[in-house]
Symmetry: C5
Subunit: 336 residues, 5 copies
Amino acid sequence: MSQVAQLYKYNLDVFSLEKNSEKHFAETFSPFEDMNSTYWLNFHSMENKEAIRKLCDRLCIDKLLQEDLFAEAKRTHLEEYSDYVFFSIISALPKEGSNHYDLKKERISFVIGDNYLISFQEKPSDHFPTVRDRIECKRGKVRYKGPDFLLFRMLEAIIDNYTEVVEEISTNIEKLDKIVLRNPKSEVLRKVEWEKRKLLDLRKIVFPMKELMGQLDRVENEMIIEDNIHYFRELKDTCYSLIDEIESQKQMLDGIANLYYAIQGQRMNEIMKVLTVTSAIFIPLTFIVGVYGMNFEYMPELKSDYGYFIVWGIMILITAFLVFVFWKRGWLKRNN
Amino acid sequence: MSQVAQLYKYNLDVFSLEKNSEKHFAETFSPFEDMNSTYWLNFHSMENKEAIRKLCDRLCIDKLLQEDLFAEAKRTHLEEYSDYVFFSIISALPKEGSNHYDLKKERISFVIGDNYLISFQEKPSDHFPTVRDRIECKRGKVRYKGPDFLLFRMLEAIIDNYTEVVEEISTNIEKLDKIVLRNPKSEVLRKVEWEKRKLLDLRKIVFPMKELMGQLDRVENEMIIEDNIHYFRELKDTCYSLIDEIESQKQMLDGIANLYYAIQGQRMNEIMKVLTVTSAIFIPLTFIVGVYGMNFEYMPELKSDYGYFIVWGIMILITAFLVFVFWKRGWLKRNN
Amino acid sequence: MSQVAQLYKYNLDVFSLEKNSEKHFAETFSPFEDMNSTYWLNFHSMENKEAIRKLCDRLCIDKLLQEDLFAEAKRTHLEEYSDYVFFSIISALPKEGSNHYDLKKERISFVIGDNYLISFQEKPSDHFPTVRDRIECKRGKVRYKGPDFLLFRMLEAIIDNYTEVVEEISTNIEKLDKIVLRNPKSEVLRKVEWEKRKLLDLRKIVFPMKELMGQLDRVENEMIIEDNIHYFRELKDTCYSLIDEIESQKQMLDGIANLYYAIQGQRMNEIMKVLTVTSAIFIPLTFIVGVYGMNFEYMPELKSDYGYFIVWGIMILITAFLVFVFWKRGWLKRNN
Amino acid sequence: MSQVAQLYKYNLDVFSLEKNSEKHFAETFSPFEDMNSTYWLNFHSMENKEAIRKLCDRLCIDKLLQEDLFAEAKRTHLEEYSDYVFFSIISALPKEGSNHYDLKKERISFVIGDNYLISFQEKPSDHFPTVRDRIECKRGKVRYKGPDFLLFRMLEAIIDNYTEVVEEISTNIEKLDKIVLRNPKSEVLRKVEWEKRKLLDLRKIVFPMKELMGQLDRVENEMIIEDNIHYFRELKDTCYSLIDEIESQKQMLDGIANLYYAIQGQRMNEIMKVLTVTSAIFIPLTFIVGVYGMNFEYMPELKSDYGYFIVWGIMILITAFLVFVFWKRGWLKRNN
Amino acid sequence: MSQVAQLYKYNLDVFSLEKNSEKHFAETFSPFEDMNSTYWLNFHSMENKEAIRKLCDRLCIDKLLQEDLFAEAKRTHLEEYSDYVFFSIISALPKEGSNHYDLKKERISFVIGDNYLISFQEKPSDHFPTVRDRIECKRGKVRYKGPDFLLFRMLEAIIDNYTEVVEEISTNIEKLDKIVLRNPKSEVLRKVEWEKRKLLDLRKIVFPMKELMGQLDRVENEMIIEDNIHYFRELKDTCYSLIDEIESQKQMLDGIANLYYAIQGQRMNEIMKVLTVTSAIFIPLTFIVGVYGMNFEYMPELKSDYGYFIVWGIMILITAFLVFVFWKRGWLKRNN
């Protein structure tokens, strides 16, 4: 309860980390005291709506945006105000275990001001361990850059998670690729559909993310410094290649489904060939032996001493002929 | 008859509601009397064309628009005049019962002026209970905002109905998803087609709605105040995500159809395997017993004391061999 | 011969209708005599090329356009000159009878000047009875508006014909929808293809029509009065919704085809189940009775008093077992 | 060898035609001598590279363009210089005989200057007989217009060839349409694929042609006179409608393929029904007669005087019952 | 180790080639010493990161770009700075042997300054033998042009490699085209999928390449001289036609897959016909002979002298009738 929010305050020389309740920060957070430090306030839960509303009021954040914060997940969008920028995005992670056809999704909202960044997560999961690490251990450039660079690092972490999802799907596709050749059950097709749904889901998340990066690029106020726009453009490129990757994975899944149908069809063919060859050989033979099983009083062949052997001869000839015909048609070879 | 139209007149302090016939309002509606109040005139039927025409004339509404009001449902469009804005949209609700493949659609037209909003519904159904509630109970901002905010609330209610349709389809998809795995009849595919048609229908409604929100955004006269443009942009975002959702539901339905075909194919495979295994084993055996059912006078095997048992031995060997072959090919396992 | 062209001359007060040969009008048509009247010259045949050329020369119409008039049907396009506008469109009507997979198409060309409109039809069919009616009976606004409004009414009539085609296809789709469920022959699929071809054809006609409406909207000279642009915009909207409708009908036809395949597949399944169940039960039984039909001298079972009844017992047990297995697999139920 | 190039020199009054070797023209061609005449130099082979290079140098044509002239066929493109315009296109003709799935293609390059046009063909085939005819016989406007009009006539001839290809494919589609209903072999599908490849090929040629017409439209120097731009716009329209036609032919071919699959499936259904009906009737009967073919010593039925006729009676009843069942299911009707 | 980098220094008169370690060049490379020469520094490995970083620092290359250099392959992009341009592309070559479904890819980065070009390859493979040759032997224009022309030649070589991949796939498609008609195993479909993946992969590489050419076209600083922009436009055209080619190859592969399905279906049909014809003829006959194999004491036919021959007669009639029926249905012809 008490640790659902953290406040980082840092610049090149100073670093402090405070963990406390949302209520506490709602009452005390005042980034404008020290304009030389960067403040990062991170909430791990959206349940204490009252505290979050209070905080927003203190920072003069638009009422409509406050409603947006608590709204059901919707299309990612960015609102630009004179002294802060607001936007929400959806993070995504693969669910563990192989029987899931959806993703672990979470909506994360950001408010970015001149020297502060507030991030609202819906669940207590942590997407930003590497970012924290960088700040605490003074690694990389994050300590001597402002909140826009911090934002870049956080978005980078989220996009890395998307990449993780894509890679997990890629691994599954390779598995399916092997299974479909060895043992094509309809199970395979179900899994193909599951992976497709994940891709569908992810695409719905990455596409607006890409657009958002473009919007950040064009943000006109001074939240994002000219020098740092490069970083967001990089992220946009990554989103582009993710979308490309998603598209081509979808086509690969289609390819696996097609292979599945082809192999199923071929199995059917094989089964039918066995049935047909067996039937076409033995049904006529059975007829012949049936003929001489008839009880007519006058059947001249039955009296003959060699009748039995002649019938065997005829049957062997017929069989040889049929086997030859089927062999010519290639029906005796497997997989043909 | 007498209650097919209602007139709300309100501002922050004042509120009145009058229910009366269309004819009455056609003769008495005069929003310009009190420019400090917002007037909302709602018609629940389009049948009294004469009264509606009269009303339009009193408000100086273009003749062509009047024709449009009574026209067959067509593409949603917006006409901007100097002192009012006119547009029509289509509302949609799921039909009750599971055997419908279309939607409950209704055309709703709006005329919005400086301080009034007229809404024309085709049927006596009520799409706006929450809106009425908000006005009467003074909940939310509607009482101290003008007709543009009222319009926002009404469009929001309509778009919420679209969402309801999408959710109903989503529930059906989940049901179909389960049915297709348990019991894939062609019935399933018919239902898949029905849901697809609903999506098709809904898309044809939501797409122009989205464009309309964009047009409202760009409306140049003062019907929609700068400050409230935000709201319509939000609705546009919702439309966007609805279209996305529709698209991905369509792909899910395709996925279910594919699964259906795959499972049907697999069932066929299974049936054929049973047929083939049975036939391939017993048809040759039947031939063998047929041979010794022949009535030739000279058949040496028949005289042998052990002939019968030798034949049984041979038949058991053949069966064992064939079973082994089929087992190796995996034809004895189910679902393979 | 003598009535292949008509000339309407009208304004609010005056109305005259002259039916005569093309040659006659080619020599006498002079719209500039009375600038207060609107002239509508309608040709019902393009065969008298000489007369048409003469007429064009008299009205100073570009030679290239004259060639276009007689050219094979090509993409609809509009040419704007300083004192007239020229364009051609394709009209479409459903062919009567159910065995057609194409449309009754006709190219219609228009020359519209300040106070005259000339329409060239290829065949003596009449697309504009309602328009004539409106002029003669002074119904609607056509009598006190210029040639641009007349053009609107004519194009409206043509687009109404497109709608008729769409509705005819829609009726056919509903029929096919019912047939495919009752009695799915490949005949159905052929008809699905026919309807698709009609849609394809119609789309190729409506699409350029829509673009043309947009061009009329932007025409810069004074043939089309600012006030009447509204009308053409309406027609453009209708074209849009027609294209939408065509697209969704195409998808419905795809849905019917899919249903057809699914039902065909299910029928196959059913047939195979009957074959398999029959064969799997009786082929082993036939083998058993075959065994005791053998003529070995020493077969102990044959001597037994109860042998016959024991064999029957065994066969009944086998049958019961197999029936149970097939019942469990659901192969005995129909449509499963 | 000596006649691989021709030079036309003409204006309204003058006309001369010179046939000679490439080398000759490379050394003598000088269009600037007589600015009142139009020069058309046509090469029927690209083999004498040296001569062509020499000619280009004399006309001060860019070295890179010279390389382009001899390059492998690539995307059609246009280069605009101050005193000439260069571009290459691909011509296409159907191959004769029905067993081809590609087109007779040839790259043709044009250099157009103020008063001259040079055309380079790769093969000695002649695409422009009608153009030559028009010049020689003074038919049409070509003699009193400049090289831009000549270019128009030549491009028109090439585009007419495209149309010829489309028409040839259209004829083939109609043939396939009939064959698929009468006699659907997989042969049909192969031919469908062939036609699709031709369409694919043609589309790759027509699409850049269309873009090129758009570029000619926008050419800024004076090679193409304002007055003649109309002509190229016409050609662009033709290209548009060709692309439309190609698209809809592709969809027709898809329709034929679908029909093929449906008919094949129906045939399979029919075959299976014959097999199933025969088997389901005779296999049980064979079992029954097998029972009374057993040799048990004690089988009471065999002793009965009417046993044989009772068995026949039972078998007839069973057969009648099964025939009734199959008749009800509609399996006895053909094509059902 | 020592030869992993080469430095070419040349102008029209001068030429020197130095092969040395990366470390050496990192310390000594100074292109600004002689502004009249063009320097080309080529690295054949990215392993010595320290040396590469050092070199970049000496040339004042942005830190972020340095990170990019070592980053995982991502979307091709170009960064433009005041005194140099940086971009990375992916080269592709077909893998040798027929069992590969991926390409030999390598990321190559370029830094281009006023008079120098640095190229970083990831692997010691050599893509540029023809370029080296041109420089050393003074062939073509490369010696009297700057680094932009050198860049053109290098990109040209890379794009030629793409073309090689496309041609290799084209060859494989032709092979598959033949195999599918002769011997359609599911193997074929797997190979079709492999080729499709290669196309997918290549498209992901060529598409950004094309965009990059467009960006080079618009580069605003003086790295690329106005005169040489032509060359990059040519490359862009080649990329366009490659993308076209990839698209049409994908469609050809779809065509082959369709043919495969059709032929498989036809084979199934054929097999079923053999089974059905055999069964439908012999199963009834076997029933008949079974009838007369019954052991009833009283069966009048058995006593008849001609019974046996009459039965044969009946069976021959039945067979003739059935053969006639099947012949009429065309089931006796192969491939029908």
